[in-house]
């Protein structure tokens, strides 16, 4: 089936260099060989259609006529053997634990700054640092991170590394469940012969974690009322919001459904006002409360922040989390792990050079053609140099930029992202993949087994983002022997 498939110089999730499948893919490979290409094509079409039928779409803003797209689905799963998963799981818990301690510290005593580990200006100049709004609060369980999405990649040796932390509003969790659901429906054949960690209990774990955030002044701490706050049905991640609210059995509210009276938050129902205790918000900090943040925001709820500061309502993920997940702070996370936990990071970062540092800067300026340079303040691939693919003029431009404002930039080696086979348009070809792992925080941290594997379906492309032709894959974590823990 994969005879023409060439895994080349990249690490491949499924295939060995000699054209044989890796041991944890053998069974899958055997079953795959029983299908004809026509069968596979037909099943693939069925899967894509199923997403559209169910309305599992995201919104594309630029296009007037067809504003809804489904995320392309590729049926070849990413399979993770149990030992490897155990390592990832531990690494993710460790990382989120340290990040959470950092947030608690940075909005209270700032011991990590006083001890000289992180430069003060890096925090104070961060646009997502909300000192005034988020400092000195007693947060339930000291849990700033209710749901984190940590993006992992594998380098050419197959080693997992963290590419990015998302501690604000990571989306895509619904796709993990829907990818599995569609996969089970279209390819039941695979599931009989594999022992895969189920996702079934995960949403009740998520619900439990959410309810553990009941605020200080909650009237009935055993039965707090939680809601999910969405920007509305035109938001690109609206399906994610619908899915999570529905599965957790909580109301999906918009800003206009909430009102603050006497510093308490209420939702407007057909029977009058009902008190709200916990808000899982999928609205950015800036838009939460026009009185405390962006005064032009119509998405938010006036007075919400005051209710929050008085302990009358919980808001999660915590306000001001952005200070911990930007590109500059990323480089300090391994130090945070050592500082707060006295442990070595289990999953490493991608090596990062700070250009404010003279020695690093000189090294980088000499090797611009081999490195990736990123502006710490921008995202989505803007103001970025990919050395090996850049022209001389582009490299010279970045040399100038770095010399002018070194603190604004970081550099990383160009990583050869791992690849996995994809089947589209009736043939197999290798595509780059990454993995977003979801960590849930409540009384303790839990990790969703697997996560969202994103795949750059455009051949040769490194962009896994769904707005640019990226798709999704089901992610299987294999069970260890008779292990029933997942």
């Amino acid at each position: 089936m994969l005879k023409q498939y060439d895994s080349k110089a990249f690490f491949d999730e499924m295939m060995e260099m000699d054209g044989k499948p890796k041991s944890h893919y053998e069974q899958f490979h055997d079953i795959l060989n029983r299908f004809s290409v026509e069968d596979l094509h037909e099943k693939n079409e069925t899967a894509q259609l199923s997403f559209l039928r169910q309305g599992i779409t995201f919104t594309v803003y630029s296009d007037k006529t067809g504003t809804e797209r489904t995320m392309p689905f590729d049926f070849i799963p990413v399979i993770i053997p149990p030992d490897q998963w155990e390592q990832i799981e531990k690494g993710m818990k460790q990382r989120v634990k340290a990040l959470n301690l950092f947030l608690e510290d940075v909005y209270n005593d700032q011991q990590i700054i006083k001890d000289g580990l992180i430069p003060r200006e890096l925090i104070e100049e961060n646009p997502y640092y909300y000192k005034e709004q988020a400092s000195g609060l007693k947060i339930p369980n000291d849990s700033h991170v209710f749901l984190a999405g940590i993006d992992l990649i594998r380098d050419e040796h197959g080693e997992y590394r963290v590419l990015e932390d998302n501690l604000r509003n990571p989306s895509g969790m619904s796709y993990v469940f829907q990818n599995r659901f569609v996969m089970r429906r279209v390819f039941p054949e695979f599931f009989n012969s594999h022992q895969i960690c189920t996702l079934e209990r995960q949403l009740s774990n998520l619900h439990e974690a959410l309810l553990s955030h009941a605020p200080e002044n909650c009237e009935d701490k055993d039965h707090p009322i939680a809601v999910l706050l969405t920007p509305g049905s035109y938001n690109s991640a609206y399906y994610d919001h619908v899915f999570l609210a529905q599965q957790m059995g909580i109301e999906l509210v918009e800003g206009r459904d909430l009102i603050v009276k006497d510093d308490c938050v209420f939702m407007k129902t057909i029977r009058g006002l009902h008190r709200v205790d916990i808000i899982y918000r999928r609205v950015d900090d800036d838009f939460l409360d026009p009185e405390a943040f962006n005064p032009d925001s119509v998405l938010g709820v006036p007075g919400l922040l005051e209710a929050y500061r008085k302990g009358n309502v919980a808001i999660t993920n915590g306000i001001g989390n952005g200070v911990a997940d930007d590109k500059a702070m990323y480089a300090y996370v391994p130090d945070m792990i050592r500082y707060y936990l006295d442990e070595e990071p289990l999953i490493k970062n991608v090596e990062t050079y700070f250009l404010r540092d003279r020695e690093a800067r000189e090294h980088v300026l000499e090797n611009l053609d081999k490195l990736v340079v990123k502006n710490v303040g921008s995202s989505g691939g803007y103001d970025m140099l990919i050395g090996p693919h850049a022209t001389k003029a582009e490299i010279d431009l970045f040399r100038e930029k770095i010399i002018q404002d070194p603190a604004q930039y970081i550099a990383q080696p160009t990583i050869k992202l791992s690849r996995a086979p994809a089947f589209q348009k009736e043939r197999f070809y290798p595509c780059h993949v990454d993995l977003r792992v979801y960590v849930m925080g409540g009384k303790k941290l839990k990790v969703l087994p697997g996560g969202l594997s994103r795949v750059a379906l455009k051949e040769g492309s490194l962009v896994v983002n769904s707005s640019q032709g990226g798709g999704g894959k089901d992610t299987w974590v294999l069970k260890k022997g008779s292990d029933d823990s997942c």
Binding site: R53, Q54, G55, V242, E251
Partner: protein, 331 residues
């Protein structure tokens, strides 16, 4: 339940019901068009009535001066600027369902969503009658299927009730509107012999899918009085005005646990007033113009009930799309 969500459910049901009714009217007219060998003048009048039932004749006339069937089908099925076009009803209904998605059965959403994508597949400019006919059938089936999903899988709570009330009010208004248009026609042509009116009342029955039911109840002669009694006061036909009003009453009463509270008093009063009017009505004693007045008044009552209903349950201020659809009935 959130007031905003209740509002979405109510309008979702109205939009589905409206799409079904308008599809049936258009479909019946298209079939008659193929059969009849009408003179141009007659054909034009027949189209006028269809526009008046499915949309607004004055709005249509603002844009077009002729009654070309293609233009009319385009207007009623696809026109963006016509808030009651089928495409808009489906699109609005789907948006309504989308913002209540976490509390409605997922089959209900899927069914509406599929109908939406099928309607998108028809080219808005270069359609042919076959495609339109298929779409009309699909919309009617979508409405039947969604009602089946609602009946067979939803618990009988406020969510269900808001959907039902939307449906009954929309249906009552549509039947009243159809009869009103037909009465007006019959009145204008009163110089013509009675038999000539046969076609109007046959069309009225077809428009509300009541021809078969009527024939079972009345001898196979179609008379104005019989059709009007049947469609206004028959307690067993599910599209008669009285049947719908009774169901609105029952739904509200159920939801309120049979009690009239301070906040719901106005709503109960408004529905009761309409019920009393029906009880005192003697359709057979009324002249055509009196009937017209009665139906006009009834449509105003329906509008009023809709407003009081929104007020009672704190439903949101109408947004642009619902303003569009509400104006249809404000004469």
């Amino acid at each position: 339940m959130l007031s905003r969500v209740a509002d979405s459910l109510y309008w979702m049901a109205r939009n589905i019901e409206r799409a079904e009714n308008n599809s049936r009217v258009l479909s019946a007219r298209l079939i008659n068009m193929l059969e009849a060998s009408d003179t141009d003048a007659v054909a034009e009048r027949d189209w006028e009535e269809v526009i008046e039932i499915c949309s607004s004749l004055s709005d249509y006339k603002k844009e077009y001066s002729t009654f070309n069937p293609d233009t009319i089908v385009q207007y009623l099925a696809f026109q963006d600027g016509n808030p009651n076009s089928l495409a808009n009803c489906i699109g609005f209904g789907r948006d309504n369902a989308k913002s209540a998605r976490e509390i409605i059965p997922h089959e209900l959403w899927e069914c509406l969503n599929e109908c939406y994508w099928n309607s998108i597949d028809v080219d808005r400019q270069y359609w042919n009658l076959q495609e339109v006919d298929r779409l009309l059938r699909e919309i009617k089936l979508m409405s039947f299927t969604t009602q089946g999903v609602i009946e067979s899988s939803m618990t009988r709570d406020a969510t269900y009730t808001f959907i039902q009330i939307g449906k009954w009010l929309e249906r009552a208004e549509k039947t009243a509107r159809i009869l009103n248009v037909m009465c007006e026609k019959a009145r204008k042509e009163s110089e013509n012999p009675e038999e000539h009116h046969y076609y109007y009342w046959l069309a009225a029955l077809q428009f509300v899918n009541g021809h078969d039911a009527y024939l079972k109840k009345y001898p196979p002669a179609i008379s104005a009085k019989d059709v009007l009694s049947f469609l206004i006061t028959d307690g067993t036909f599910p599209r008669s005005i009285q049947y719908c009003v009774n169901h609105v009453w029952d739904s509200v009463k159920d939801m309120e646990g049979g009690k009239v509270s301070h906040y719901s008093e106005e709503l109960f009063d408004a529905i009761e007033r309409v019920k009393i009017e029906f009880d005192e009505m003697r359709i057979k004693d009324l002249q055509m113009h009196e009937l017209g007045e009665f139906l006009d008044q009834f449509q105003n009552h329906c509008n009023n009930i809709g407003h009081i209903f929104s007020k009672t349950y704190y439903l949101i201020e109408p947004t642009d799309s619902s303003v569009g659809v509400m104006t249809q009935y404000q004469n």
